[in-house]
């Protein structure tokens, strides 16, 4: 119990007392097995006690309002009150550094504060109104832990990595995809041409982009019809199961369900949604996909508006966690080497959240809280944006084999055409998997392995020549706060 927490009659006298005094700051509290934990990065206003602001975050995300209310006493309020139990200065912030003081604050919530199986309800509390509190300058949700009992109220992915592989009969290598480009302007017929060429060349999937819905240049039904012609023709040309992520994102739920039903009637194995449709719409589509044997691909459109800056918003690892609970089968989670934001350690952390059955604390990778996934299926991460065949060794090294590698420009931009681009990617992938399995140091020898394979594969040779020097080396904004400790040094 905190020294300054008030109790009994004194505590409930009408008026305003500090959040700490109201009981939302309890440094001695030990979280129990039924607690949901949220961990935030807090920047307090100048001169304000960070513990008091932290208590305010706990209060406003659970039971508190700005003033004392007697109606608390009609409830088991000590249980329902969220408790901030840790407030640690973030390394390399505060006095003597260039960054103003930030604090990692840990808050425990009894799981009965949340409706089972509802991401909307969790988010309404945790990222509801606390981010706008005047007493804080900035706030970022860094990580969450959910008790197994609460986790079990979610279905999770209906398909996930294991079943997707079984259904597609593809094992032991990353899946290959591409996003149709240009993403806007193609007619249905021209669009399907790109899909057919890429799939026949050797990709497993082609994908609609996030903003292709039903514009004047291409009605959604046209796109679906031509894409399924392309998918089936390519399947017959190769003997493999192929797919195209048909984006069913639309203005209303009814419209989305109509598009999903049409995709199903055409025999598509996968549909796609954008993150911007919102948590309830995502969960609705996950339920629909579970009932209709459909893989659900989620494009994380919009996430960087709140996940990229380090001091305010929320970390993408929390989005990964919520989306696994919500039940998407695919989610874009970064490439490390491509054109979009992504520090290697942070991306490893996202992938662990999506693919492991249990996440131990791993501070260098940004995993602040342990998580048991309670048998929820694993989500297939998707790496997309500015990657090409010449990086295959790095991609395999950083991302492993349970991932969809999406080469959009890296397929369609190939000098000898889309099929040649797809062939280059597939040959590069297979030769790298072979080398890895043979025990070669494929990361160091990667360029040589690719050059050797290119001797008998002219499409790969052309790809390596075209993109040989293309890298995206910019500093990341979302980086680790803790550096890995060298083992054996102490």
């Amino acid at each position: 119990m905190a020294d300054n927490e008030m109790k009994g009659k004194e505590r409930y006298k009408s008026g305003v007392i500090s959040y700490k005094k109201m009981g939302y700051w309890q440094p001695d509290y030990e979280p129990c097995a039924t607690d949901v934990i949220a961990m935030f990065r807090l920047t307090a206003q100048d001169g304000v006690d960070p513990e008091e602001v932290a208590a305010g975050v706990a209060g406003e995300s659970s039971t508190a309002t700005w003033t004392v209310v007697w109606t608390d006493r009609l409830t088991a309020c000590e249980l329902y009150r969220a408790k901030c139990y840790r407030c640690d200065l973030v390394p390399n912030t505060g006095d003597g550094t260039d960054t103003e003081a930030q604090y990692f604050i840990y808050i425990a919530y009894d799981m009965d504060l949340f409706e089972g199986g509802s991401i909307a309800n969790v988010t309404a509390s945790i990222i509801g109104n606390v981010f706008g509190m005047k007493a804080l300058k900035a706030l970022r949700l860094e990580d969450m832990h959910f008790p197994v009992a609460y986790m079990k109220t979610f279905d999770g992915p209906a398909t996930g990595i294991v079943v997707e592989r079984e259904r597609m009969d593809k094992f032991g290598r990353p899946l290959l995809g591409a996003t149709t480009k240009p993403k806007l302007g193609l007619s249905g017929r021209n669009y399907g041409r790109v899909v057919y060429e890429a799939l026949k060349g050797g990709l497993d999937f082609v994908k609609d982009d996030e903003n292709i819905n039903s514009q004047p240049f291409m009605h959604w039904r046209d796109r679906f019809l031509y894409c399924m012609e392309a998918v089936n023709k390519a399947s017959a040309a190769t003997g493999e199961i192929k797919g195209h992520y048909l984006n069913i994102t639309a203005a209303t739920m009814d419209e989305m369900i109509e598009r999903a039903e049409f995709a199903k009637s055409l025999g598509s194995i996968i549909v796609m949604i954008d993150l911007v449709i919102g948590y309830t719409a995502i969960q609705t589509m996950a339920k629909w996909c579970r009932a209709n044997d459909m893989i659900l691909h989620l494009h994380r459109a919009g996430n960087s508006t709140y996940s990229r800056q380090k001091n305010h918003g929320m970390n993408f690892r929390v989005i990964c966690k919520w989306m696994r609970m919500a039940g998407v089968d695919h989610i874009h989670a970064g490439t490390v080497v491509g054109k979009l934001e992504g520090d290697p350690l942070m991306i490893h952390g996202f992938y662990d959240v999506l693919r492991e059955t249990h996440n131990p604390v791993n501070l260098p990778n940004g995993i602040f809280l342990e998580q048991d996934w309670a048998s929820l299926n694993k989500v297939m991460p998707v790496a997309s944006g500015g990657i090409h065949a010449g990086q295959m060794h790095q991609l395999l090294h950083h991302l492993g084999e349970d991932v969809v590698l999406q080469f959009g420009g890296g397929t369609i931009g190939h000098p000898d055409g889309i099929q040649a681009g797809a062939i280059a990617n597939r040959v590069a992938l297979e030769v790298m998997i072979q080398a890895r399995n043979e025990g070669k140091d494929y990361l160091a020898e990667g360029p040589d392995i690719l050059m050797k394979a290119a001797k008998t594969c002219s499409p790969l040779k052309a790809a390596l020549t075209t993109w040989k020097d293309i890298t995206f080396n910019y500093a990341s904004t979302d980086t680790a706060d803790f550096v890995p400790t060298a083992t054996g040094s102490n």
Binding site: V162, D169, F171, S235, A237, G239, S265, L266, V427, Q434
Partner: protein, 144 residues
């Protein structure tokens, strides 16, 4: 004759590479054994993409620890079914996986005629698609 890259059916992990030599196959077997995965050999003359259950050439080799032993089985299977598709699969019994982790082709018919795409006209502009291997006109065992 198929017109895709390699003019061949491209299921499995390594169909875009030149046919694996016995030495290369052994290296892949060793990788599976090093991961404690059980290997098994399957064959078929129906290469339909959704033909999941190829015939098992014996039981999975749960207790086989020597790549040479697995390769011997592969060669026995090749001798018995020289014109069938033969694949090697590796199964991982780890909790959270419990599914195949590898699948690669080690034998295929000399000529691969490919697949017929049959279109069925439906309402509106919809079409139903059926894929049939050309060789499936003949009964099982007489196709290649």
């Amino acid at each position: 004759m198929m017109t895709n890259y390699g003019n061949r059916m491209t299921q499995g992990q390594f169909s875009f590479l030149p046919d694996l030599t016995d030495e290369e196959i052994s290296a892949q077997i060793k990788y599976a054994l090093d991961n404690s995965w059980a290997l098994n050999i399957e064959y078929t003359d129906d290469p339909h993409p959704r033909n999941t259950y190829w015939e098992m050439y014996g039981m999975p080799m749960f207790d086989m620890k020597d790549p040479a032993g697995v390769l011997m089985e592969i060669n026995e299977c090749r001798k018995t079914f020289p014109n069938h598709y033969i694949r090697v699969m590796a199964s991982d019994a780890t909790r959270g996986v419990e599914s195949p982790k590898m699948s690669y082709i080690v034998n295929r018919p000399e000529k691969e005629p490919g697949y017929h795409l049959i279109r069925e006209e439906r309402d509106g502009r919809c079409q139903g698609y059926t894929i049939v291997p050309y060789s499936n006109d003949k009964p099982e065992g007489e196709r290649y």
